[in-house]
Symmetry: C2
Subunit: 596 residues, 2 copies
Amino acid sequence: MPHYTPPLRDMQFVLHELLNVTEALRAMPAHAHVDVDTFNAVLEEGGKFASEVIAPLNQRGDAEGCTLNRDTHEVSTPGGFKAAYEKFVEGGWPSLGCDAAYGGQGLPVTLNQCLYEMLNSASQAWTMYPGLTHGAYECLHAHGTPEQRQTYLPKLTSGEWTGTMCLTEAHCGTDLGLLRTRAEPQADGSFLITGNKIFISAGEHDLAANIIHLVLARLPDAPEGSKGISLFVVPKFLVNADGSLGARNTISCGALEHKMGIHGNATCQMNLDGACGWLVGQPHKGLSAMFVMMNAARLGVGVQSLGLTEVAYQNAAAYAKDRLQSRALSGAKAPDKPADPIIVHPDVRKMLLTARAYAEGGRALAIFTALLIDQETSSTDEELKQHAADLVALLTPIVKAFLTDNAWISTSQCLQVFGGHGYVREWGMEQFVRDARINMIYEGTNTIQSLDLLGRKVLLDKGKKLTKLIELVQQLIHDECVHAEMLEFINPLADLGEKLTKLSTELGLKAFGNPDEVGAAAVDYLRLVGHLVFAYFWARMARVALDHPESEDPFYRAKLATARFYFAFLLPETTALMRSARAGVKPLMAMDASLF
Amino acid sequence: MPHYTPPLRDMQFVLHELLNVTEALRAMPAHAHVDVDTFNAVLEEGGKFASEVIAPLNQRGDAEGCTLNRDTHEVSTPGGFKAAYEKFVEGGWPSLGCDAAYGGQGLPVTLNQCLYEMLNSASQAWTMYPGLTHGAYECLHAHGTPEQRQTYLPKLTSGEWTGTMCLTEAHCGTDLGLLRTRAEPQADGSFLITGNKIFISAGEHDLAANIIHLVLARLPDAPEGSKGISLFVVPKFLVNADGSLGARNTISCGALEHKMGIHGNATCQMNLDGACGWLVGQPHKGLSAMFVMMNAARLGVGVQSLGLTEVAYQNAAAYAKDRLQSRALSGAKAPDKPADPIIVHPDVRKMLLTARAYAEGGRALAIFTALLIDQETSSTDEELKQHAADLVALLTPIVKAFLTDNAWISTSQCLQVFGGHGYVREWGMEQFVRDARINMIYEGTNTIQSLDLLGRKVLLDKGKKLTKLIELVQQLIHDECVHAEMLEFINPLADLGEKLTKLSTELGLKAFGNPDEVGAAAVDYLRLVGHLVFAYFWARMARVALDHPESEDPFYRAKLATARFYFAFLLPETTALMRSARAGVKPLMAMDASLF
């Protein structure tokens, strides 16, 4: 069975040494009281919960999967999931980042997100249940009426109820404008909703007393397309005026999907047969209301992949130190043993360091983004709020797509370290790969993320948000270019920044001539920006490590070595990406569709 | 359920238009009679068998897997596998490439390998049963005594019996020198073999009356390490003098592995408890005898991945033409429909063309290599035999590792074309990805392949074999550089050839200083050589397509478009590989193992 050790030291490094988050939080009245000790204590407890309660369930969840009772339409989660969820609720974990007005602890997003990294390392499938709940919480918090908030938020905060997002239908995923689910207004202000949804994660299960579905549907007078979609809250059980559960609503699970991975999470086909719902936000503005949830979910998906990258790395590193096989090409390193541990082989190290550099770089980016969200939501400085909001908008597709692509690469390489043992279920490595695969798809495929980045966040915005990122990079270059020991990091960073700025302008001009040029370059462009961000953080992390030259803590030596690996072996991908991002749409569109 | 159409037109293009294989075969007495019509007729029938009999079993095989009866130690294959295997034997397919002396049809490897591409597209798991049999056939054909050949080869040729290779033990996969299975000589010249093997594909099943295991074990007087390993033939049922089956031998399946994919193939733990075996080849020379089988198996693994790339591409292309979702950024392309088919989106085409370019490039390389094997084994021209043998030795690790890495990339991108539907089992795409994953591991991991290429085939050989490849490239450059329409292909090919030659020399010098430099660069180096070979074949395929400018057959337009895509979008990876291949071993070894 795979093991998992919460990476507390590395989290603390990012939180306290790299980003100094508690100082940034002190400037916000809502978080002024959150000090380093609070962070560390909560993370230590959260890490224990993740590694001791959740991690042991992950393989069992994969093997057992979820089960639908076709008579009652009820879904059973794998053995142990329910008991663990009860402990999670008892421990108050769901309320960590929630509003005190609804019983939450009001702690920063930054902290909650570190907790979620650990939960996802322990079990992505299990963690999706509370993760989606938090998304529903945020959506209702932002767009619900006062009555809706009072009805639903306390129970979502406590975790007694869970939540879902019901968007996709069989004929529409990416293109929600095509959706057909209908909402008929009733005299009492409610709506009767009818339609079929698919791919609804955590759509039905036995963990909680009620499930609060956020459902996209069309009103009778809705304009066609994406401007005619409204958002409704549809509880599994209706809620009485006193808050107790009433009648079973006519929303139910018709079937479970059989998937490549995340077997422990119930992926449901949901049938709404005149289900009672209530409008959330304005009529026909459902997509923008849902996007509150989507943006949080996209960051959440990036953090799922961060968690998988970390746990896959830990297990592959342990195996590589333990497994004896062949001798180093440069001569035996463990002559007293029948063979050397495979970590002596440079390519094994390359696979391990790839995962490590992506995990640690991803952690820095994810925590940085979470801190920006805290600034966006809780700062009292309007200029800082806007600055943070712009960077969050720019970084969201990068966190989602870059971290999930990197996890696919990393978990696969960590599997490879195990040789044939990586391919069998017993060691758990192939589950990480299978689980990681969905993250490149849901909450907007990675192609959609890249179109969002290049088309919307960069070009439509005329580069304003991108400039804010470039300014951060330039500031670092300005600060560090006088330090000789930093040039190995600063020079390639500066080089990439300049090339990327130039490429952005070029692509803007090309897109002006043919909008399809955006689609041709977007995926490569996103990876380029991802590497710029990673190179920026790896340079900053190297700086912190270099500031501890005499430290007895080998942590800093490892950090510096990993930074150097990143610049030597991973950043070079940008030379290829730069070329393919420039290759243009013509070679893609030359062939008639009929010839494919 | 996925569909599969045998790519007969493209195979014929490679066989007859690109490589003109029948002309090359005509020079060999053994194959002088094999004409174009024979090729086409056999492939058409083979394609029917693959698509009509085997393909429909693939998803069922994945869902059902194999079952071990713990009392009898017998293994049941998934429903339909046995009946299909009976048809395969009845149709005479196992004997296609086998020696007429043992009842074979004596057809070229080139033809057999096209058959196997199609079988693997239909079902890799099923095809492994006959595939491994053919490996055992080749090993016994090359190293068996006349008596052993007479005993086993006719039944392996007909397919009445199947074969396996029993190498791996729990503590040794890559490093076979550590293996512990023991062989005790008996007075009658046989041996009693005792030990435990793992990961034995097709180790036990219900398809055939007998299973002929080729087992690596140590003799009592064996030197330590890889120079003390001998090869034995160990039949499941002993064979009486008259060829009938005798007593059940004491080799049996102790357990089945639960794997990420290829569920339909039984991956067995095999226990040998004083099993009767007979030495094959010389004592202590088992590894080199086994390598006959291994080299064939490595090419076979490449062809497994070629098959998966092709079938994944076909299904993703069909889906992309059918699935309506969103409008092209450049304006509606199907205004009469609710949305455009997703093939209008440049990135969807990029994913499809990636798989297509890797499938068609892989097919050219695989058939070229098969023809070289025919020349190596059947030519009467000693110089040509040696030339072919050198190129086969050089290309084998490339076929194995480059094609399997490409299939991992391609099947994953084809899954992505389906969005969420790619992640659910129903569409079959995720099975292709799971099945493809093992190919990067077994028959020598792709790291081992790269060490074989750079360390053994290039550096130890002082570049002699590599020079033969470079000469082919230079000949093409020489022939085509005067044709303006070919420069878009010839220039980047020449550029890569020069860079690669220089890099090979550099790495040789570095390895002289530190042998670990080979391990640091090998994987990137192999992909670079892979791209050189693909660029060479894509340039040649473009040449053939350009020779049909007025053709009404749109096949040539598609071929040219795919060639241009390859050079614009896939070949640029070499710029990054060139950098990381030069990054050297230092950034990999800087960190103490204890800090991982």
